[in-house]
Amino acid sequence: MAAKNLRCGVSIRDFGAFNAPRTRAWLREVVPLSYSGFLGRAIFGLVITAQGLLAFGLITLGVIVSKWRAAPSVTLPLVFVELRRSGLRLIPMFAFMSAALGFAVIGQAVTQLSKYGATSMFLGNIMVLAVVRELGPLFTAMLVLSRSGTANVIELGTARAQGEVEALEALGVDPIHYFVMPRVIGMALGVFSLTIYFIMGALLSGYLWAFLQDVPLGPGDYFKQLADSLTVLDFVILAVKSSFFGIAIAVITCYHGLAQPLQLEDVSRATIGAVAQSIIACVLLDAVFILLYILI
């Protein structure tokens, strides 16, 4: 143990301690010995995972700050690879999904509002409330998670299982700098940009659907309603929230792929855990931002 303390830098393999098989074996018990025991195990599991994720997130932040300028010729292309995967290549799917979301929100809103004869008065407000503030960022995060978040866990889990982390360490390359940093930056930028495109697409398609449903609302009025409902705070929160979603997904998927000793057969289990935890993390983050709206 004394030797371990001598080690000043942090190795990604240190995280094995959180998930070493013998620490975890009792957490995997399916049949509860008693309900309190079952609950206790669940809570302990949650605490251990939260602790690991937090530590991993902080270490990643430390590496991003301290190695920001190290080896850009190697890491910058990796950022672009991630940006392409979590951004550019998702645009066709997002075009379709934004049209569908615009239709869903406007369709429902028109049906409800027409009962009160107020169809044309609140469409802009509803779009801002539903799409800009809530559905846009959350929907984008879920779609990016399902498309490239899962790919991250599988890719990194396989790399981990095949000893690539050790290979990088032997070459003096920090695995967090090489594997995690580009993914975090790429995904934050990707989710942020996609959210903007997604919201713009949904707002435009929303008008199109309203027009097709013969709502007596001119484009000028619609966009005026939108502009009136938006505040500066909306833009700030949108930017911060969507980037945070990207960072949370990247950190959680990388943690599950890299930070535990994996065999190839563990990769599917790691993916399931990463997806579930990413969704929970995004929803919790979203709740924090709703609090901000209430407080400010």
């Binding site: 001598l6 080690r7 890719e155 095949q162 690539e164």
Partner: protein
């Protein structure tokens, strides 16, 4: 104590009572009480049966797993030397894994270029010439753009050697280079390691300290090497070549078994 003596007589690797943990599970002890001194330009062959802890020993020597106990000094520095300031010392040591351990998302060429590009901040054009030379030397020119998963095991391992040599290490740790190799491949490995040991043109004629692990001592027994075996969690130095032939240790006799043909 973490300051090395300044003269050249400092051993490259100096282990006193080191307890080696497993790479897969660092809390499990694989070797106990390793007392071992490797001097600059030495050529060591460490042999042992399958599962005797050869890879774990090299992982500890290479700084991948911290020693569980005892004192280990590399170039006179107390190990493990993971912190940033010691990166220079760490890169003086190259590690070639049993199956190459290439990064699967990169091509063979990119794998080999990675250490130079990462540590020396060089562009692709600047490293290309060097990469080309090492690939010709290791017979990888034909598979330069292939993905590691499509390579035969022998070629993966050569790519691992090429990648380790790119940073021109002073010490080269090679894990089980001859496992699963045919006679010609085995001979290639023995030759290249001997050349590196006596000074290869790729490294400007500088002699490299080499530690090789093996499951079979026969290919090495005519070389001017130091020998050691791993047995029952012990590291047993056997001495130099002449002392090997008359050794009474049963495992040595087994590893030197005359029945099979020598490559």
């Amino acid at each position: 104590m973490n300051t090395p003596a300044s003269n050249d007589t400092v051993p490259v690797i100096e282990m006193n009572g080191v307890v080696v943990g497993s790479l897969a599970d660092p809390d499990r002890v694989v070797l106990e009480e390793v007392n071992w001194t490797v001097k600059a330009t030495d050529y060591w062959v460490v042999a042992g049966m399958h599962g005797s802890g050869k890879t774990d020993l090299l992982s500890t020597v290479g700084g991948l797993t911290p020693p569980q106990g005892g004192s280990y000094r590399l170039f006179g520095y107390e190990m493990p030397i993971f912190d940033k300031e010691r990166l220079g010392e760490r890169l003086r040591l190259g590690l070639v894994f049993d199956n190459g351990q290439l990064l699967h998302q990169l091509s063979v060429k990119e794998n080999i270029a990675l250490p130079l590009r990462y540590h020396r901040h060089l562009s692709w054009q600047e490293v290309e010439e060097r990469v080309k030379t090492i690939m010709e030397l290791t017979g990888l020119s034909d598979v330069a753009n292939a993905r590691p998963s499509t390579l035969a095991r022998g070629l993966s391992k050569r790519a691992g050697l090429a990648r380790a040599l790119m940073l021109e290490p002073e010490v080269l740790l090679v894990d089980n280079p001859l496992s699963g190799m045919d006679l010609r491949q085995a001979q290639w490995w023995v030759n290249i390691l001997s050349e590196l040991s006596s000074g290869h043109s790729f490294l400007h004629g500088r002699r490299v300290t080499i530690v090789v692990t093996a499951q079979d001592l026969r290919p090495w027994r005519n070389l001017d090497c130091h020998f050691a075996i791993l047995k029952k969690q012990r590291f047993i130095p056997l001495g130099h070549r002449p002392e090997l032939a008359g050794h009474t240790e049963p495992l040595v006799r087994e590893l030197l078994a005359e029945t099979a043909t020598q490559p």
